[in-house]
Symmetry: C2
Subunit: 348 residues, 2 copies
DNA sequence: GGTTAGCACTCTACGAAGCTTAGTGCTAAA
DNA sequence: TTTAGCACTAAGCTTCGTAGAGTGCTAACC
C-alpha cells in the first residue's frame, strides 16, 4: 500500500479525523449520525455518509459488516498520525516523581526495568525497553574474576554504565592474581574501543605475540578471544504492564490474546522489530498495525524512540498497545522518557 | 478443612480415583454412566451414583449444578496425590538433550532461565525457578570495580556460582587500583561466610578499626557496608511457558486469565509462595488450589522442589498449572529437574 | 442388605424465531 | 451540493422449545 495520489480535501480530512478520534475514544464502529451529532460540522448525517463512502473507497475506512459504522484502516491511522496530529497541541509531559525515582537508580539494568514500568504506567499500555547490545558499546573496563576450577567470570563495563557478565571455561585454572593482571592489561588495551575495533586489535595482537613471546600477553589474548566470541547478537528487552493491554476491549477474544502473548513470550520477535527501530534512529517513531510485518501483532501499534548515550543511539524504548490508542497522549510520553533516559545516561 | 476422620473404603476410593483420573483427562464433569462404561468396576451407574453421592457428602466431589456430573474438590486432589498416586508407577524421566544442554551452560542465571524453559516443555505447564537470594549464600569473592566518578560496581560471587551485581555511590572517587586492593582485602575477610556472618564481622571490624587506624581498612569497611546494606530481600523468579496454561480449557474465560497473569506479573506473589516452599524444604511438594492462600491462584496447583548446593537447599524450581493437571507425569519431571540442577551446581 | 432397573425431574446447551436497533445506500427534492 | 425520506441489512438480544446429560428416589431383585 502506498500513499494515495489523490489528496484529501479539508472537509474529508476533518471527517476522517473525527472518525478516528471517536473510534479511539469508544472502540466502537462510528456511524454518520454520531459524527453529525458529536462534532458540529453543520452537515447532515446523509452528507457525512456520502463522505464516509468516499473515504472507504479510498481505503481509509472499512465496515465490519453492512449495517455497522465505519472503522479506521491502518492507512487512516497513518494519515492521522502524519497529518492530523499537531505536536504543538500535545500535552506537556513532566513527572517529578518519575525523574526523581530514575535518578536514584544507579544500576543500569535496574534503571531500564524501572523505565519500562513507568512507560507502561504513564501510557496505560505495555512499556518496552531494548537494552543496548555490545555491538553499540564502547568498553571501559574488562574484568576477569576467578570462579571455580577453570571457570572465569567476565565483566564488561561500558562507558554508558551498562554492565554485562559472562562465564567462560578455560583449559586450565588461572589464579585470581594473574587474572587481575590480565584484567588490567586487557582494559588498558581495549578501553575506548567498540566490539568491532577490539576484534581487529585482537588479530593484530595475536600476530605480535608470535614474534615476541610473553606468557602474560599470551594468556590475555586467549581470554579475550573467549570473552568476545559469540557476543554480538545478544539483545535483551524488558516488557512490563502487559495487563494494560488485556483490559482493552479489542483483546477480549482469547485467540487474539494468545497470539499477542506468544509474541511477548518469544522475545526474539520483539527484538527484531525494535532492532529495526534502532537502525532507523528516528526521534519518535510510530509503527501501525501491519507495518511491523509480524502477523501476531497486526492489531497493535508501537510508539518508540531511540535513547542515546552521548551522541550515539544505543537502545530503544517505547510502548506497545492496540492500534486504537491515544497517540496524542502516548507520543509525548515516549519522547519525554527517551530524553530523560538519554540525559541520565549521558550526564552521570 | 482437615482430613476427614472417616476412612474411605477401597471401593469408594477406586471410584474417586476414576473420577479424578477422568476429569484430568477430559476437563469435563464426570457422570456415573461414564465411570461405569470406561472403568470396569462391574457396577451399574446407579450404584456408582450412590457412591458418588456419599463422596460428595464427605467433601470429595461437587456438582457445578444439579444435572451435571461431579468434579473433584481440592480435598479430592489432595487425597489423590497423597494416597492414590504410587511413585513406583511413575514413568521414568530422563532426557539426554536436557542434560547436555544444561551442562553446557556456565552462567548461573542462564542455567536457571533455561531450566525454567525445560520445566515448561517437559510438563506442558508453566515452568518456574526461584533464584537463591543472598541470605542463603556463602560468599566466595567480592569484587569492586570502578565505573564513573564515585560510582562503584560490586560483584558478589557465591560458592554456588551465583553472581550478583550492584552499584553503589560513594562520597568521593576511589581509584581502580585501590579498589583492587580493597577487593582482595574484603574477599580475604569474607570468603566462606554467609550474609549474616558478614554483618557480624563488619561490626567487629568497625570497632577494631577505631583503635588501630588504617586508611585502607577504613575504606574497605565503608564500602562493604554500602555493598551489603539492603541486600537480604531480593529474590528473583523466572516464569516461562505461560502460554501452555492459556491453552487449558479452564482458563478460557478472560477473567480467570487476567487474574492469573496479574499474579505472574506481580512476581512478589510468586516469590512469597515459593519462599514458603523453600522453608519447608520437602522433596517434591504439591500445593493444590486454595492451599496456596492466594486468591488469584485458587484454580492452580504448584508442583515444586528445592534444589541444593551441596547439602543446603538454596532455591526452588517447579511448575504451575491448573489443579486439573496430570500429577503422575509432572511430579517425576520436577523431581528429575531438581536432582539434575542440584548435581550441576554441586559438581562444578 | 447391597445392587440395579426404571422413571420422574432438573438444569444446561443449543438453535430457531422474532423483535429491536444502528446504520447503510439510494433516490428525489430543495 | 445538500438533505430528507425510505427501504434494506445485519447484528444483538430475548424468548421459547427441545434435546441431552445426569441426578435422586423408589421398588424390585438376588
Amino acid at each position: 500500500m502506498t500513499e494515495p495520489k489523490m489528496e484529501l480535501n479539508p472537509r474529508s480530512s476533518s471527517i476522517l479525523e473525527a472518525v478516528v478520534h471517536d473510534h479511539i475514544a469508544t472502540a466502537e464502529p462510528v456511524g454518520s449520525r454520531t459524527i453529525a451529532k458529536k462534532y458540529k460540522f453543520g452537515l447532515s448525517p446523509a452528507t457525512i455518509r456520502n463522505i464516509m463512502a468516499d473515504l472507504e473507497e479510498m481505503g481509509y475506512l472499512s465496515q465490519p459488516h453492512t449495517s455497522a459504522g465505519r472503522v479506521p484502516t491502518d492507512r487512516a491511522y497513518r494519515f492521522y498520525v502524519n497529518h492530523l496530529l499537531e505536536s504543538h497541541h500535545f500535552p506537556k509531559v513532566k513527572n517529578p516523581v518519575v525523574e526523581a525515582t530514575l535518578q536514584s537508580i544507579h544500576e543500569f539494568n535496574e534503571l531500564m526495568k524501572e523505565t519500562s514500568v513507568f512507560l507502561s504506567q504513564l501510557s496505560n499500555q505495555a512499556g518496552i525497553v531494548l537494552i543496548p547490545n555490545l555491538k553499540k558499546t564502547v568498553f571501559k573496563r574488562i574484568e576477569f574474576i576467578h570462579l571455580t576450577g577453570s571457570r572465569v567470570l567476565v565483566i564488561f563495563v561500558a562507558e554508558s554504565g551498562l554492565v554485562h557478565k559472562k562465564t567462560i571455561e578455560l583449559d586450565r585454572p588461572i589464579s585470581q592474581n594473574t587474572l587481575e593482571k590480565i584484567s588490567n592489561l586487557v582494559t588498558e588495551q581495549m578501553a575506548g574501543l567498540t566490539l568491532q575495533e577490539i576484534r581487529k586489535k585482537l588479530v593484530k595482537m595475536m600476530e605480535e605475540e608470535k614474534t615476541q613471546f610473553d606468557e602474560l600477553l599470551n594468556q590475555a589474548v586467549k581470554l579475550s578471544q573467549k570473552a568476545f566470541e559469540n557476543e554480538e547478537g545478544e539483545s535483551e528487552v524488558y516488557v512490563r504492564g502487559t495487563l494494560n493491554i488485556l483490559n482493552q476491549p479489542e483483546f477480549a477474544s482469547i485467540e487474539r490474546m494468545k497470539a499477542l502473548f506468544k509474541a511477548f513470550e518469544e522475545k526474539s520477535i520483539l527484538i527484531q522489530i525494535l532492532d529495526k527501530c534502532l537502525e532507523e534512529d528516528q526521534n519518535v517513531k510510530v509503527t501501525i498495525g501491519s507495518e511491523n510485518c509480524i502477523e501476531e501483532m497486526e492489531d497493535c501499534s508501537l510508539v518508540t524512540s531511540t535513547y542515546k548515550y552521548g551522541n550515539m543511539s544505543v537502545g530503544v524504548l517505547g510502548i506497545i498497545g492496540p492500534k486504537r490508542m491515544d497517540y496524542s497522549r502516548v507520543i509525548p510520553v515516549v519522547g519525554y522518557m527517551a530524553k530523560l533516559i538519554s540525559n541520565l545516561l549521558t550526564n552521570s
